[in-house]
Each structure stands twice: as C-alpha cells, then as structure tokens.
Amino acid sequence: MTDGSSPDLASGTVHPGPSRPGADELVQLVDPHGVRHPHGHYDALVADVDGPALQKLYEDMVVVRRIDAEATALQRQGELALWPPLLGQEAAQIGSGRALRSDDFVFSSYRENAVAYCRGVDLADILRVWRGNASSGWDPYTINMATPQVIIGAQTLHATGYAMGILNDGADAVAVTYFGDGATSQGDVNEAMVFAASYQAPVVFFCQNNHWAISEPVGLQAHVPIARRAPGFGIPSVRVDGNDVLACLAVTREALARARSGGGPTFIEAVTYRMGPHTTADDPTRYRDANELEDWAARDPLARLATLLDSLGLLDADYTDSVKATADAVAAELREGCLSMPEPAPSDVFRHVYSAPNSWLDRQQDHYERYLASFGPDGGTPQEGRR
C-alpha cells in the first residue's frame, strides 16, 4: 500500500541505520509476473540461492499451503475447533523462516504455521491447541520457537526480553517476532520497540501487513506505511514485497546480520495479503470487496515463483510430481496425527503449571482424582445413557 507521497513527509526525520532513498518503496526481487529483477543492495544477500534452493523454497510454500488447506478441512469436519488460515502469506513466512539459524528463537502469533514448519515442528503439534487437546502444542526449546501467542502483540515483548537475555549471555543468536498490521496499534508492540531500541537488543520485528485486522482495513490504523513507525523508536525499517519469497529472505538475512553484529533491532514490514478468512469462524465477504481479493490473487506468491522456475527450466514434471507427493504425504501425516491424537486425561490440567513439583497443586490434583473416582468405574455416564 504505497500512498504515493515522499518518504518522511510526515515526520521529517532521517531514518537511522543504513538509509536508502525511497524507504517506502517495496523491496522486490521477483515481480508478480515471475520476472527476476536485479537489485543493487539485496542481490548480494541471496547470491547463494541457486536453482535447487529456489526449488526448495517453492516446495516449502506448496507444502505449507497444503497444510493450511488440510487443517481448514479438518476444522470443517469437526476435528478442530478453529483454524487461522495463512493462505496468501506463504512467501513472507517461508522467506523469513528459512533465513533463521537453529539457535535463533521465534516468538510468533497464531498464524505463523509456515514458520513453525521451517522450525521443524511435529506436524500434529501445530493442531494440538486448535483441537482443544492441550494448552500448548510443543516444548518451545525443542525447536526454539515459543508456542503461538493469541494475545495480539504480546509476543513482541517476550522476544525483546529474550533478546535482552541474549545480550547478557553474549551470544550472537537473534530473537524474531512475528505479528500483523493490527498488532502495531497495540501498546505491547510499542513498548517492545522502545525497549528493543533502548537496549539495542538483537530482535527482528517481522510485521506481516496482510491488510486486514480481522475486519478492519490497515488504512484505518495507519495513514502512512507501517514501516514508518519504527524510525520513530530509533529502529531502522524496511518494506518488502511480502509475496516475494526471495525478497523476504534477503531482507530478513540483512536484519539478522545487523542484530548478530551488535546493530540492534530491525523492523520489517512484509506487505502481503490474507486471502482467506481471519479464522474459520469468519466470513470476509461481509466486509471485504471481492475486487480486492482478485487483485491480490494476481500477486500470488506461489504462482510467481512457479513462473520464475519455469522460465529457468526448473519446473519439469518430475519436480512438480515430487513436490505434490511431498505435500500429499505431509497432509496425510497431518490428518493422521490429528485423528489419532490421544485424548488428554482430566488430570492433565494440572501438568505444565509448575516445572517442579508443587505440594499445593498436588493436593488439588489428588482431590480432583478422588472426586472423579467417586462416579464409579463407568466414568460417570448418565444413568439412562445415550439413546
């Protein structure tokens, strides 16, 4: 969403950090027609991305789109209570997710299932919470990704705090936090940016501007590009075409390198589009113009990379078949993992509250178990049973 006005019109300030002319401009390496454009600054950052690497990025996007479709179907089939689709945001998540090192730590919202996929999450673990099966899907330290935050923007504080910890440890890892355009209006996000700038903490603020905060268009909360907010906090920012996986990879790599070398935080605005509903309980046609979706479908992140691969002769039938087979296998694994998930026991509610034994909680658990046992071995089915 470029507004056509010159940068810094509103603030008159100079962006700190490496400033480039026209900071409102989107960094784009592959245009919507699948044409690769050279870029004076960012080409160097993706010089290592050869044909096979591009193919891998494409496969990643196809697979996560398939994961998303399968999970949506599972919700419609009554197997999940809710699902937040990421359709349209694959490039922003895969491009940034594949830039990370395993010792970096991700603090995301609930829509970053493609990032979780990059981190190597067990597929069924993505669904655990949405099935109502557990309070959180995985042990954050196994994949260095916190369980998704549902409270809008709260994870930015967690990331900044973690990044301050990295400083104390003297490590060169980076905390990366994902949030949406709507979250930038939250106090938490603003506080996180204040602290990140003050401490020059190694944190990357990755904002996916998907244009809709549920039913509120981004223009309601930001009259200028969202990336312009960060310089006000003393944080350099960049706007990137969020549907261009290569550009997302490049800008994220730059931000990570800055953080690792003591350059402090970076704010990335990935301009993308939520092509589906906010969640499976939402109907975007009630508030969104049908034409807008058409416009963005023409900028689809998968289609443009497929066109590029095709033009490079890298999209032959063998390759597309193998991608499809991978996606099918992942979808089948996801479904099987969802349907075969063991039901939690009633007393599981007492687990994961404290890391060490807690006598008060143990007593509560004991009472609760004895209470349940009082219903007898049949587990308390109503006397007349079911029909």
Binding site: R76, A81, A281, R286, R288, T381
Partner: protein
C-alpha cells in the same frame, strides 16, 4: 471405489460440526453430492450457511455416499447426522482389526448408531460442548459413596417420561383443536418434526375416507390427501399449483427491514405533480455541451442534486430517530441511498456525502453505483450509513406510490415517470413533460410543514432549475 462382496466396508456417519465458534445450528444450502456418489477425501460435498458465514463442507472420508439425512434448505442442529458414507475397512480403531471373517458379525462390526449405549464416557467432537442429555434438563450423575460396595442391583426400571412429540406451537394448537393426539403421529418434517400436513393426514385417516373429511376453516393449504414428499430442491411443490419457497437471504432481510420500518416509523406520504419541461430541456442542452463529455446526466441525477440542495434548506429530512438513546441524530452529510433491483434482490447502496458532489460527479456516482449493484459487487460499506433515499419507480412506468422508509432514515422520495401530458402553460393548455414526486417521511422527526417545504423545494428546482440561484 468398487465394493466386492468380500471387501469389508463400514458405514460412517458424519455429524454436523460446529463450523464457527459456539454455533448451535447451520443450514444446508446445497448438496454437491447425491446418494450413491463416490467421493474423495476432502471433496466438497455441501455448502452450509451458519450464522457467521457460508462455508464449504469437505468430505471427511473417501467412500460412497449412502445416505443424505437432511434435504437442502434444512436447518440442522450441530451434532445431528447429515450424511452417511460407506468406506472401505473395518469399523473400530486402527489396530483393533483382527480376523474379520473368523467371527460372526458382532456388535462391534455394526455402525455406531446401532450399537447399544456403551457404558463409558463418550468423547465429543471438538466444539460440541458436553453431549446433551435427553429429558430437557441436566441429569445428576450418580455418586458412589466411599465404602459402599457398588453391585448390580435389579432396580425396577424407571420409565423416563418420553420426550413430548416434536412439533411447533401452531401445529400443536391445530392438533388440539381437531382432537388429534400428537403422540400417535409420525413426523415427516425435518428431524421428525410433526407438521401441519401430518396432522391433517391423520385427520383424514380418522374420518375414514381420504379427502372427504370436512376440513375446518383453519386448513390453509391443500386437501388432506396431500402428503408432500420431501423435495430436495429449494422451492417445494405444494398442492393446487402453489410453489413454496423458503424465506431467506436478501428477501428475508428486506422483509424484516420493511416490517420494522413500517411499524416503528409513522409514515406520511405527500405527492407533488409538476411540469419538469425546463429540466428536460436543460438535460438536452447539457448533452450538447462538451464539458460533460462521456457522462450521461439523467433526470435521476438532477433529482438527486435537487434533493441535496433541498436538504440543506430543510435539514430535519436528513436525520434519524435513535429510540434507544432517546435522541434525534442530525447528519451533516447526505449519504444518498438509491434503491436498486439487483440479482440478489432489493439493495439500497448509498453515495457518501452526496451534497458535496457537483451534478456531473453525482451522475457518475449514480452510474457507478448502478453498475456495481447490477454486477452483484456492491461493497458492504456502500450498504450502510445511508441517511436519505430515492427510489426511481419511473423506470417501471409508474407515476406515484407510498414508499416505505429505509429503516433509520427520515425520508424517501419516489420519482415517477416523466410523461407528456396536457398541462396549463402560460394561460393555455399545452403538451408538457410532467412528473409526480412522492415523499414519505417519518412523522416523529419531520412535521408536515418541513416535509412540505422540502418537497416544494425539490419541485421548484425541477420546475425551473435556474431557481437554484435563489436557493443556495
């Protein structure tokens, strides 16, 4: 999928899930499959409308559709079975399959719904909440006191009072009036609901000969012999050449809005018939002019402009009655609604801040509005926030009417057809272009004086557009 005699298959029932968060029912809008169809996993089998959205339902199984439990157009409770599939493989959990042919068909091989109630906790599908217990109120679970040995005691079977037959209040009354007990009837409606037809069919039965029973005057549709078979199509054939179409969508919304408006706002309608020949001449002149190249200025555009000018002089017409707040809301902007017949039905999209638009811009906005509406692409924002409306009944060749207010608005102007009529002109009878305006207004907000002045102002402009010079 071919099912050979030896290939083990299982019938799986798919119950309507909670498709939103906390929904209790949804309507099956359309089936995409029929009984006997083979479906793939995740193939779209139906469109379902919840209170929140119309969504597509993907098949949870690969197999053959053996039964559609509910017809399209039916509202179904969450948790009720809607479709049954025959799928390959044994019933039961993975790993539980063992020598399927060695044992005679046992309870375990039967579909779940035929099995006796298992004496254990039944897992609910996610989002269903606790399984509802029959009987209408929560049943306490039996508590076993510690120390008391639980043993099978032959308790005299307590007859749980059967649920009363499912029907609707008007049908219950009809049955009561006719002296027909509902207990003995089998419902043919959705979810075995006893319908009016069922009651009348029973009456016919008790009277002995079909069709000859003296039907009471309360009977509305058809003779007693008419027992409609459930028709999966949306409009249901009724006897005597009637077609019954469920009330829904824009039609339902329009009806609710019209009823709400007609019975909350006391409507007054005034008529004004005027000679608009000067306006017609002005339009012809504008057509020649170069300034408006490409834009067609219609009589409606002139009326719209006249309304905006007249509103500025009579602002109460552009206000709203807020019953809840006990306040009158006066709007600064005229968000001018234009009633439009669209493929979806009657819609009233509005032009925001119409008073700020010059005539040519207004004409363009009207053109765009109509085009968007006809294409069915009216954005939701255009349908809310209207403050005053115009309905162009002239396009149908109609002269006048008593329009009903768009709910929440203080006035609506119906514009009739422009006709060549003998009319008094400069002391003689001449053939002139004549038009009737019909203005309905909310008499809570607008007195006769204000309404009349407004209508007269609009008339003055159309009668002589140059009069605008004296009005703005």
């Amino acid at each position: 999928m071919t099912t050979t005699a030896s290939a083990p298959t299982t019938v799986k029932e798919f119950r309507l899930p909670d498709l939103g968060e906390g929904l209790t029912e949804s309507e099956i809008v359309q089936w995409h499959v029929a009984e006997g169809d083979t479906v793939e996993l995740n193939q779209i089998i139906a469109d379902v409308e919840t209170a929140k959205a119309v969504v597509e339902l993907p098949s949870p199984y690969a197999g053959v559709v053996v039964r559609l439990h509910e017809a399209a157009g039916t509202t179904v409770d969450v948790g009720a079975p809607i479709v049954s599939f025959e799928v390959a493989g044994e019933s039961g959990e993975p790993g539980a399959s063992g020598a399927p042919h060695a044992v005679p068909p046992s309870a375990a091989d039967e579909p779940a719904e035929n099995r006796p109630a298992p004496a254990r906790r039944e897992p609910n599908l996610v989002g269903y909440g606790a399984a509802l217990e029959k009987g209408g109120r929560p049943q306490r679970r039996t508590r076993v006191l510690p120390g008391v040995v639980s043993m099978p005691v032959t308790v005299p079977t307590v007859r749980v009072p059967a649920e009363r037959p499912r029907s609707t209040p008007p049908v219950r009354k009809l049955a009561r009036d006719l002296g027909i007990p509902l207990d003995g009837l089998t419902g043919t409606g959705p979810g075995s609901l006893i319908t009016r037809t069922d009651v009348l069919a029973a009456l016919a039965g008790t009277a002995g000969s079909a069709g000859s029973a003296a039907t009471p005057s309360t009977v509305l549709a058809g003779g007693p012999s008419a027992v409609p078979s459930p028709d999966p199509s949306r409009g249901t054939r009724s006897p005597a050449g009637q077609t019954r179409t469920p009330i829904k969508g824009v039609r339902k919304h329009t009806a609710a809005a019209m009823v709400a408006s007609a019975f909350t706002a006391p409507h007054v309608t005034e008529f004004l018939t005027i000679d608009v020949t000067p306006t017609v001449e002005l339009l012809a002149e504008l057509k020649q002019g170069r300034a408006l190249e490409g834009t067609r200025i219609t009589p409606l555009a002139v009326v719209a402009k006249a309304v905006c000018i007249a509103v500025a002089r009579n602002p109460t017409l552009n206000s709203s009655w807020d019953e809840q707040a006990q306040e009158i809301v006066q709007y600064a902007d005229v968000n001018l609604g234009i009633a439009a017949a669209t493929p979806r039905g009657l819609l009233v999209p509005n032009i925001k801040a119409a008073q700020s638009l010059a005539l040519v811009d207004l004409a363009r906005a009207l053109g765009a509005l109509a085009e968007t509406a006809r294409a069915g692409k009216t954005p939701p924002a255009d349908l809310t926030g209207g403050t005053l409306s115009i309905t162009n009944i002239g396009v149908f060749g109609i002269d006048a009417g008593t329009p009903i207010l768009n709910p929440g608005e203080a006035a609506i102007l119906a514009v009739g057809a422009i006709r060549s009529m003998p009319w008094e002109y400069q002391g003689a009878v001449a053939l002139r272009s004549v038009l009737t305006l019909s203005l309905s207004f909310d008499h809570r907000l607008v007195d006769g004086e204000q309404g009349s002045r407004f209508l007269a102002d609009v008339g003055t402009i159309l009668r002589n557009p140059a009069m605008v010079l004296a009005m703005v």
